[in-house]
């Protein structure tokens, strides 16, 4: 998953990027509203964390403009004042949740997770696809009840594809969502990961969880058990 963090205070921005990267997300950070708008419209993030008090373009204006540009990924706003006026304005502008500073990073992770799940249509952190179970809160994958050993990148790839279950994801799109912008990309690496993933998820070749759509990309073929919409 690729996230955007827009926060003008240096220390907080670095801490956020660090903690989110450790959780396994690809993070791009912007330091003011204008930069945030540029990044936010250029890339299709999975979620954005936006501080309300930003120079050049304040957080609420930024959210309004992102929504106007058709960017509908979930947004969590950070507010220092904590006044309800700000929270309500932010939510009315298009944000989906808020956090008052100072906050515990665990709380941010939990809310972030909930929003990502919700936007993929999953009500609970556990996604069950027949014999395959993905727990996005614990970041574990079980096959027939036995836990699988996946590298963090393999897990990220699987989680993203599962969230977009049924949709065909191009290699470029996959790369964009798994790496932050500083990473030197090489789309062949993706093929390697998908290949390894397939071997681990489907050792006897019966499940076929990930299909290759010729010339278009990959698709997670399994459907969720709990009737996710």
């Amino acid at each position: 998953m690729r996230l955007l963090v827009v926060e003008d205070e240096l220390t907080l921005r670095e801490q956020l990027s660090e903690s989110l990267t450790q959780q396994g997300y690809a993070v791009d950070a912007a330091e003011d509203g204008r930069e945030g708008l540029y990044y936010g419209t250029e890339t299709d993030y999975d979620l954005a964390v936006i501080d309300i008090g930003l120079p050049h373009l304040n957080g609420i204006e930024l959210i309004k403009q992102l929504r106007q540009q058709g960017r509908n990924y979930p947004v969590i706003i950070l507010t220092a004042r904590g006044a309800w006026q700000d929270k309500v304005e932010g939510l009315e502008a298009g944000a989906d949740d808020y956090l008052v500073k100072p906050f515990h990073h665990e709380e941010l992770h939990a809310r972030l997770n909930a929003l990502l799940r919700r936007s993929a249509g999953h009500a609970s952190p556990v996604m069950q696809f027949g014999p395959l179970q993905i727990n996005t809160a614990a970041k574990t994958v079980n096959l027939q009840g036995l836990e699988l050993e996946l590298t963090s990148f393999e897990y990220k790839t699987l989680e993203y594809l599962a969230h977009q279950a049924g949709k065909t994801i191009s290699k470029t799109q996959l790369t964009e969502h798994l790496y932050d912008q500083d990473f030197d990309r090489d789309s062949n690496v993706i093929e390697v990961f998908v290949g390894r993933l397939r071997k681990k998820l489907d050792p006897d070749g019966t499940l076929k969880p990930i299909a290759t759509v010729r010339g278009q990309g990959y698709r997670f073929t399994l459907t969720a058990d709990n009737g996710a919409d």
Partner: protein, 459 residues
């Protein structure tokens, strides 16, 4: 309009000409009438003169060759006499009238009945004296001849208007000159009156300047009634600002003082002798930092709230509670969408809160958020208004607050449940705001099964 004086002067400058113009017009009209009346009287005298000079001879009248009034004998003198018989045929005309047209349409001009007179201003064809009309006086007379016969003769006097117009012109010139002078004097006087009248404003400006310079704290002194209202209000505003500044100063002082303690605790932890690098110590340090940060956050929020006391003193704008409640519920439904809470709103129509909208939003926001956070499926907001209070009741179907903790959670900073992430500052903030309005907050069991918070604001 930039100045009161110029505003008033402009109004006068527009009105004065209208007034004086109307005055001048009517004076002129009156004078014309009076002049004309004078002319009529003189012409009447002329008629008598002619009547006196005329003599009945047989069936007709004769006039002497010259008359006592020399103008009748001067050609085109401007005074003409004509006598017509009962059939409007000319019997005599004065020597002055010799060059006038043979046919004078006198009958059409004026034709009084027997024994009567007529006076008019007319234009006769063929007679144009300086483009002006003529004065005409006519008298219808009955004469008795020696033989006893009755004969009707009509006497006409014509007078040109040259002298009359000249008089008018002189009069008018003088009239407008005088009116113009009066207008100028009036404007000047008005200017002085206004300067004098508006002097209190100048004094007000000077006094305000003194306040600005810090020489005085408020506007003292007597002002005219109209200005006094402004000064009274201004003094109230100044006093409120002064009190607010005091409050800020105090809060900053308290804030600095209160923060010293947690800051000292943090520094103390750094200065502690290096114990073993066991995970136990680093966890303890971690916990200490977290606790002190929480405490500092509470202190900052508390002082911030105390410092910004909004204006509840004077009559406030009424805030519609329903609107605020709807905005909040929409926002909370979005944030807690996963819980699928059913929110119900029941308020009287209309339901107004007298105070700052932000304050209402803080109180309701915090209480509703708690309800959404702890509630299972349902949150309800009801409102009641009686003659004394506006009461808002927020209930949920969550675990509720045990009676033993009900008092405690309304105290500052205390939390009944520390398992949920987030701070307990919200409720403390609500308490602070509510007491600022002189209201009350209580917590009981809700009919829905969970906690019920009851906020009352006095009206």
């Amino acid at each position: 309009m930039k100045s009161l004086t110029s505003r008033l002067l402009l109004a006068s400058a527009l009105l004065l000409p209208c007034f004086l113009g109307a005055t001048g017009y009517f004076l002129d009209l009156a004078f014309q009438r009076s002049l004309a009346a004078g002319v009529a009287e003189r012409l009447q005298t002329q008629i008598y003169l002619l009547l006196g000079a005329a003599e009945m001879e047989g069936e007709t009248l004769t006039m002497p060759p010259t008359l006592s009034e020399p103008l009748y004998d001067q050609l085109n003198s401007g005074l003409y006499g004509v006598i017509l018989d009962h059939r409007y045929r000319e019997v005599w005309r004065s020597a002055s009238a010799r060059l006038l047209p043979a046919e004078l349409a006198l009958q059409q001009a004026a034709d009084p009945r027997g024994g009567e007179t007529a006076f008019a201003q007319v234009r006769l064809p063929g007679i144009q004296v300086a483009e002006l009309p003529l004065f005409l006086f006519a008298h219808n007379t009955l004469w008795e001849s020696d033989s006893g016969g009755e004969y009707r003769f009509r006497f006409y006097i014509l007078r040109d208007q040259i002298a009359y117009q000249a008089q008018l012109r002189t009069y008018r010139g003088q009239l407008w000159q005088w009116l113009g002078t009066v207008a100028a004097i009036l404007l000047l006087v008005q200017l002085f009156i206004m300067r004098w009248g508006l002097r209190p404003l100048g004094r007000l400006a000077a006094d305000l300047h003194k306040i600005e310079e810090g020489e005085t704290q408020r506007l003292s002194g007597e002002y005219p009634r109209e200005v006094q209202q402004v000064t009274d209000n201004l003094n109230r505003v100044l006093e409120r600002e002064h009190r607010q500044r005091e409050r800020y100063r105090n809060s900053l002082g308290d804030l600095a003082h209160s923060l010293k303690t947690p800051l000292a605790a943090l520094r103390g932890a750094l200065n502690a002798p290096e114990a073993d690098e066991g995970s136990h110590d680093s966890t303890a340090l971690h916990q200490l930092i977290d606790d002190q940060v929480t405490r500092m956050n509470q202190i900052v929020s508390h002082q911030l709230q105390r410092a910004i006391v909004r204006n509840h003193g004077s009559k406030q704008q009424q805030v519609e509670v329903a609107q605020v409640a709807n905005r909040l519920s929409t926002a909370l439904e979005k944030v807690y969408a996963d819980k699928h809470i059913r929110f119900s709103l029941q308020l009287p129509q209309p339901c107004g809160f007298y105070g700052d909208e932000r304050d209402l939003m803080e109180v309701l926001g915090n209480l509703l958020e708690n309800a959404f956070k702890y509630g299972e499926h349902a949150v309800a907001l009801t409102g009641l208004i009686d003659n004394q209070n506006l009461t808002l009741v927020i209930g949920d179907d969550g675990p509720g607050v045990p009676p033993s903790r009900q008092q405690e959670i309304l105290q500052r900073g205390a939390r009944a449940d520390t398992a949920q992430p987030g701070q307990g500052i919200g409720l403390a903030m609500a308490v602070e705001i509510i007491s600022g309005y002189g209201g009350s907050l209580s917590v009981e069991q809700s009919p829905l099964g969970g906690a019920e918070f009851r906020v009352s604001f006095p009206l």
